[in-house]
């Protein structure tokens, strides 16, 4: 009970592990490329929670700065990935990742 009511590092790590599991599940099981991207965003958020949790309980700023850079990289990744998905949709008329099996039209 003491461990449940006192919020510590393990609580954040638990949430992070659950988000990582859900993200991997989405990446693995969904056929729609957009939902796969949402899974990737969940995984990046899980990593960020870990960085910030360890940074808080360590007292350093390294985790905070790294989390900031992760957010920037995630924005760049989402823009590029959406552009690629839109191109795939133009060529194949579908965003089903299991049916895209050639690299040219």
């Amino acid at each position: 009970m003491e461990q449940l009511t006192t919020i510590g590092l393990n609580h954040y790590l638990t949430i992070s592990a659950i988000l990582l599991g859900f993200g991997l599940f989405a990446v693995m099981t969904r056929k729609n490329a957009i939902v796969v991207l949402m899974g990737v965003e969940l995984i990046l958020n899980a990593a960020n929670i870990n960085f910030l949790a360890f940074s808080k309980y360590n007292g350093g700023m390294e985790g905070v700065m790294f989390a900031l850079f992760v957010i920037v990289i995630a924005a760049a990744e989402a823009a590029i990935a959406l552009a690629i998905v839109i191109n795939i949709f133009k060529i194949f008329k579908s965003v089903d990742v299991s049916s895209i099996d050639s690299m040219k039209e």
Partner: protein, 170 residues
Amino acid sequence: MSNPTYTVIFYLFAAITVFSAAFVVFTRNVIYSAFSLLFTFFGVAALYVFLSADFIAVTQVVVYVGGILVLLLFGVMFTNGIMQTGQKSEVFHIIPGTVLLAGIIGALLYTFYTSHGWMPSETTLQGSIVERIGFETMSHYVLPFEMVSILLLAALIGAAFLARFDKSGK
């Protein structure tokens, strides 16, 4: 911190985050997934506030909710047709996926709760850290900061180039 109000609010936001993330993953409707992701991002931002990273929380709301989620919704609308929002997405590899989900969560939680205790530093982060982020950005991390800005510019130009309207092909 064992303040009961603090604990209750933490569990509230943790529940919002986890359940909306589960809804993102398990619903078949792509639009529902995208809107449920909104609640996940807000819940994660609230958890960042609990971790005394208020600047990161605001950045999370601005970048993820204002940028990435709008991009994802745009992608959903563009690839499914605006009128047919009831688009279902197929699922495959459901058994290996479930095994992976249970395995990852189980293994990580087993490791966290059976390994003997983290030892928090004497000087945990307290209060607002906006000022310290400013100092760190302009001193230790000035090179990565500039590099990431150039990377972001190049990525956005590249995305606009890739997704541009093609006159001859259309």
